[in-house]
Amino acid sequence: MNRALEDSNRRMLRVRDAMDRDHALPLDVPALARLAHVSPAHFARTFRATFGETPHRYLQRRRVERAMFLLRHTDRGVTDICFEVGFRSPGTFSRTFRDIVGRSPRAFRREGGALAVPTCFAMAWARPASGPSGERPREGEDGRAAPSGK
């Protein structure tokens, strides 16, 4: 039995859950260490030993993941998204985003929706399926209709 390790893991998991949940808040290592009931130095070291990356990096990845979603699925401005996901400056946001994703937030957004197939195919295949009364695409040799909404 290694209760000490398991207790430590569980505390680190609690802090990681807090980062997932409250990523937009100004979380720093001292604040996170308080959640784990350990000193800041001990916390940063233990978190890394537990999950394989620093708490700072984990939080950055969580924020960038949210930013990727908002860039692709909303029309909100990049600076607006930067603050929304918890970054304090657009410069840090752009640098961190590029470091993790490999391109800038604007480039990432531009690529979304850009399909590398001729437009007529994209139009035909991305079109929502028609309702029960309309014609449906055939699926398979028995001619069964594909499920709607797919």
């Binding site: 039995m1 290694n2 893991n9 998991l13 990681r16 859950d17 997932d20 949940r21 999950f51």
Partner: protein
């Protein structure tokens, strides 16, 4: 061919603590709690649904070597073991309030999603649990 899912399993680190959490706190009921000699067979189910049981299994010898059991415990407490449950509820917000008062560790507040309202929590050991109030 198949007619249902009768049993599933998640690992817990302490079966007394697991029973207290899953039954007294979450409100599931004990379907079986039997000392088989070689193991304690502890299953819980949603009240009124004994046909679907969850085995709360403690990892350890002789089923697993002490070394492997330690690895399983480490993964459970890191939230990486993968066992998880999604329960359904009639009122997500009310259930959330009730469980919050009982000290449950929530990972996510009730959130509107295309399939319903749901939220997330951890059991005392690190396993993920969600409950959903399905749409319509």
């Amino acid at each position: 061919m198949f007619t249902g899912i009768a049993q599933s399993q998640i690992y817990v680190l302490d079966q007394d603590q697991a029973r207290a959490f899953y039954v007294d706190t979450l409100g599931l009921e004990v379907a079986a709690d039997v000392d088989l000699g070689f193991m304690r067979w502890l299953t819980v189910s949603v009240p009124g649904h004994p046909e679907r049981q969850i085995l709360l299994e403690k990892p350890g010898p002789p089923a697993l070597s002490e070394e492997t059991a330690a690895q399983v415990r480490a993964l459970v407490t890191k939230g990486a073991m993968g066992g998880w449950l999604v329960l359904t509820t009639q009122d997500c917000h009310r259930t959330h309030r009730t469980l919050l008062q009982r000290g449950v560790e929530f990972t996510e507040e009730p959130t509107e999603r295309p399939y319903g309202i749901d939220c997330g929590l951890r059991d005392p050991f690190g396993n993920r649990i969600r409950f959903t109030q399905p749409t319509g």
